[in-house]
């Protein structure tokens, strides 16, 4: 460990590359980590360390940060037809674009504050395109939009087309507004219906996810 003022100042300059909001949250603790990892007598940031900080800062500024965990993340927007957009936005569900985000290990489904589920990919038993005619119970009501719940099934949609049925091999608790509810089946309306189904049902010949993880060392 070193307390070189010069080194600390140089780290500050590097951290200035990060967006202000990120700096406000993490600058102090990153600096503590950098200083703790510095060698005795070190006066300048190591080249690899500086490049790593600049790279992640740029990714954040460009909105391309992958969290340093996986490089195969994909986002599938939940489709919202024009007549539903106003009402969904009015209820605050559209402030953050509704989407299904898939990473190497999770399927994350969000519609604003009204619905959020983080499901381990292992828990997804199957996924298939679903016609509206196949919906049962109250889900048959064609005008249903937003988030609807029927025992152990959640319908998260902004349109009645492009539906994808995701069946889980276990019960998962999801957040619906202020409440938590168990589901075994999740139905979403996807802009890219076939793409989402294909991503949720990976080919058995596809490379293992672990090979796609970045190894930043």
């Amino acid at each position: 460990m070193t307390d070189s003022a010069g080194l600390e100042r140089r780290y500050w300059r590097l951290l200035a590359c990060y967006p202000r909001a990120f700096r406000r949250e993490h600058e102090q603790e990153i600096l503590a980590v950098l200083m703790a990892g510095a060698d005795e007598g070190q006066h300048r940031p190591r080249l690899g360390e500086a490049a790593n900080l600049i790279r992640h800062a740029l990714w954040l500024r460009l909105g391309l940060s992958r969290g340093g965990i996986m490089i195969n993340e994909r986002t599938f927007p939940i489709s919202v037809d024009s007549s539903s957009r106003t009402i969904i936005t009015a209820f605050g569900a559209g402030r953050r674009a509704p989407r299904v985000r898939m990473s190497a290990s999770t399927v994350d489904v969000r519609m604003g504050w009204v619905f959020h589920a983080t499901i381990p990919r292992e828990a997804v038993a199957s996924a298939r395109p679903l016609n509206r005619d196949e919906l049962r119970g109250p889900f048959r009501i064609s005008v249903l939009r937003g988030v609807n719940y029927w025992p152990r099934t959640a319908l998260v949609n902004g349109a009645s087309t492009g539906l994808v049925e995701i069946t889980l091999d276990r019960q998962k608790w999801v957040r619906m507004g202020p409440f938590r509810a168990p589901i075994r089946r999740l139905i979403v309306s996807a802009e890219d219906q076939s793409g989402l189904v294909a991503a949720l049902n990976p080919s058995p010949l596809a490379p293992d996810d672990s090979t796609l993880k970045s190894r930043d060392s």
């Binding site: 993490h26 990153i30 503590a32 980590v33 790593n52 954040l60 969290g67 290990s105 983080t118 381990p120």
Partner: protein, 100 residues
């Protein structure tokens, strides 16, 4: 690896870097930029959360811990890897017997 490092209890940034290096036998040496990008993502996914904050030698030290969802995901992933190892070892057995 970060989730594994946090499985034993809450840790601060430098502690996670040291632990990841130790449990990977030196193969993985996380850099600060990578670590905090990963921590941001894991927090956004509600897999980890801030446990507490301390000031040590005038510097902020923030401790992170696994959430129940993070622990569940880690357990699922560990089971999957264990299953892969089991299959690989069971398939290797005849080959190993032939070689000996």
């Amino acid at each position: 690896m970060i989730l594994t490092a946090l499985a034993a209890g809450s840790q601060h940034g430098y502690g996670i870097i040291s632990d990841v290096k130790a449990i990977s036998a030196g193969r993985i040496q996380l850099k600060a930029g990578t670590l905090y990008a990963a921590l941001e993502r894991l927090r956004a996914d509600k897999l980890i959360e801030v446990d507490r904050e301390e000031i040590v030698e005038s510097r902020l030290r923030r401790y992170y811990r696994l959430t129940p969802a993070g622990a569940e995901l880690l357990a699922t992933e560990a089971t999957r890897l264990q299953s892969n190892v089991h299959v690989a070892m069971s398939r290797l057995k005849p080959t190993v017997r032939l070689l000996t």
